[in-house]
Symmetry: C2
Subunit: 233 residues, 2 copies
Amino acid sequence: MATLYGLGLGPGDPELLTLKALNVLKRVPVIAYPAPDTGESFARRIAAPHLPGGQIEIAIRTPMIPGRYPANDVYDRYGAEIAEHLEGGRDVAVLCQGDPFFYGSFMYVFQRFADKCAVEVVPGVSSLGACAAAAGRPLASRNQVLTILPATLPEDDLAARLKGSDSVAIVKVGRHLEKVRRVLDSLSLTNRARYIERATLAEERVLPLDRVSEGEAPYFSMILVSGPDGRIL
Amino acid sequence: MATLYGLGLGPGDPELLTLKALNVLKRVPVIAYPAPDTGESFARRIAAPHLPGGQIEIAIRTPMIPGRYPANDVYDRYGAEIAEHLEGGRDVAVLCQGDPFFYGSFMYVFQRFADKCAVEVVPGVSSLGACAAAAGRPLASRNQVLTILPATLPEDDLAARLKGSDSVAIVKVGRHLEKVRRVLDSLSLTNRARYIERATLAEERVLPLDRVSEGEAPYFSMILVSGPDGRIL
């Protein structure tokens, strides 16, 4: 069996690829990447300027249904396709936006191969560091606790967890923007919240939360909440 | 005024530098880096294979006293030295192991220049993603909460925060190893804890926590605690 790579490509800017990811990318005969039902794969877009050409490509097309996670059979099917290449001695790199193990869909592939063949995970720059850099806000320092909260959580759960935190990153904001805004407002934390959209891309936007217009946020958005020093509440 | 860079160099393996960090590193006339009172700077060691030579170097030597944070006057002094170069039109890159804004000492420099000149923070691969990759353990997925706990916290605080978490990364383990071990034992979480030391370096070690010998851990160590699915408790 050949080697399966989980290749962290960073948050979006193709210059934020690591040298290691670049080397793997140029060497492997097969690349696979998550992609929506129709349209472009964000992971492939990050890798595009670096692809040598002539590689076999597997677009892992999963229906993006808000609030639903991809069905097992989708990953079983693509897993079988990947396995064929590995058994044939061809290394496969799964392209991952950000870091493969930070809320990445690579884990569905990883689960299927971890005990079966050599798997190498190449860590990447995560959206966390990228958003903090874009906002000019340290994530955490000294003995501060940093909490990563998916915006998908219920309102009362979000509120309870914000209360005990020093510094918070709310990920997967997307269609949960108004819910998150309500929670932060109710805790008087809006003035400490910074909204970051498409960090490191040309379209990057950084705004105080109260200047973000109503509605939905794009999938690639994050809200950082931090106090001037110590606990946020 | 020239530009000040906070340059994330990744967790240790010089191949985990980003292309962007590499480009800045080769271009700037001045580099600065944290260093112990005597001996080698870890950040400079990561950058070493990539340095073009002939740059002005500022070793920010801060006494490493366990439990003490560097005194303001140390950073005031080095800040003045950095300011001189910036005022003279020379870009300065501060080398940061991992990511500059993830528990990095760069924030002490950042605070002094954020309002005075152009500051660009280049995010890097953090120890978080590196340790997860080394351990073969996803950090978080779906709607899981990820909590980053500094091992410097008091025992009861660590215990309380572990109880409410889905997935936990305990950073800055070092001389707090036995305290952390006691807390995890008392919560019957030892079997879910993985210990990672010097991730991505040749000396990397990954062990179940109960196989780590007693005493101190090195400064660059982390403990990941994750459940098979969902909450750890």
